[in-house]
């Protein structure tokens, strides 16, 4: 093989070797001795487990994000001010004051607010 070809091939080997380093390093050894074909097969199978495990984990994470959550939408209470006239709102305010539900200060403040909204 020509030197230039070898160099280019070596360049390609480095990143691939790093990618595969998680499962194997150098000539794989099961016990003593060494295995070339066996090492690659073991690394490939174990690497497959790791990749599948990562994929499952990623899928589980995505699933948890995409899981439909129960959202309780409370119907908004109708805003009395929107549907009632100023007279009606003032009448309601008077009624609350007469019944002692609101204080004089609260009555004055709310009355001013109703009148300011005109």
């Amino acid at each position: 093989m020509k030197s230039a070809t070898k160099f280019l091939f070596a360049l390609a080997i480095v990143p691939l070797s790093l990618a595969g380093a998680a499962s194997t390093s150098g000539t794989a050894r099961a016990g003593s001795g060494g295995a070339f074909i066996g090492g690659m097969i073991a690394g490939h199978v174990v690497g497959g487990f790791v990749r599948r495990d990562r994929a499952r984990t990623a899928a589980a994470v995505n699933q948890s994000y995409s899981q439909p959550t129960t959202v309780v939408v409370q119907e908004a209470a109708p805003a009395p001010s929107a549907s009632k006239t100023v007279e009606q709102r003032l009448a309601d305010l008077d009624d609350l004051a007469k019944k002692g539900i609101i204080t004089k200060d609260e009555y004055a403040a709310r009355r001013k607010a109703i009148l300011d909204s005109i």
Binding site: M1, K6, F9, I13, L16, S17, A19, G20, S23, T24, G26, T27, A28, A30, G31, S32, G33, G34, A35, F36, I37, G38, G39, M40, I41, A42, G43, H44, V45, V46, G47, G48
Partner: protein, 140 residues
Amino acid sequence: MFREILAIVSMQVAAIAFASIAGAVELSPKYLDGVWTLESKENCGLKEFEHITFRANGTMEGSRFGVVDSVGFWRQSGDLLRAHLVTSPAHFDENLKGFQGYFDYFPVNMMIFDLTPDSFEAVGTIGDQMQKVTLFRCQQ
């Protein structure tokens, strides 16, 4: 004078060319035919080192501890060798013992270079796995 110099140079060139041709080792089924082991010729006698047998008829097998653990076919094209192996992963890693009795197919690509009569370098890949190894010929 000029003719003498030309004759000497020509002889030297011819000698170099002949030596390189005579020493060249070409990758071929005939060359690969035999048993090979890893890292050192001395490992030929050590069964804990994988032994790979290439046969000129295109079949091959890997073995360790005297037990054949992978079998298949190989084809060579230039300095590339493609092997199709069947094996059980249980042979190769304690953590894979659960695969005992389960066999699968593994395509192996090898680039072979730096050949000598009794050794060669190989870079093999299976999927994303890549390993470089020096294989030494064992006496049959």
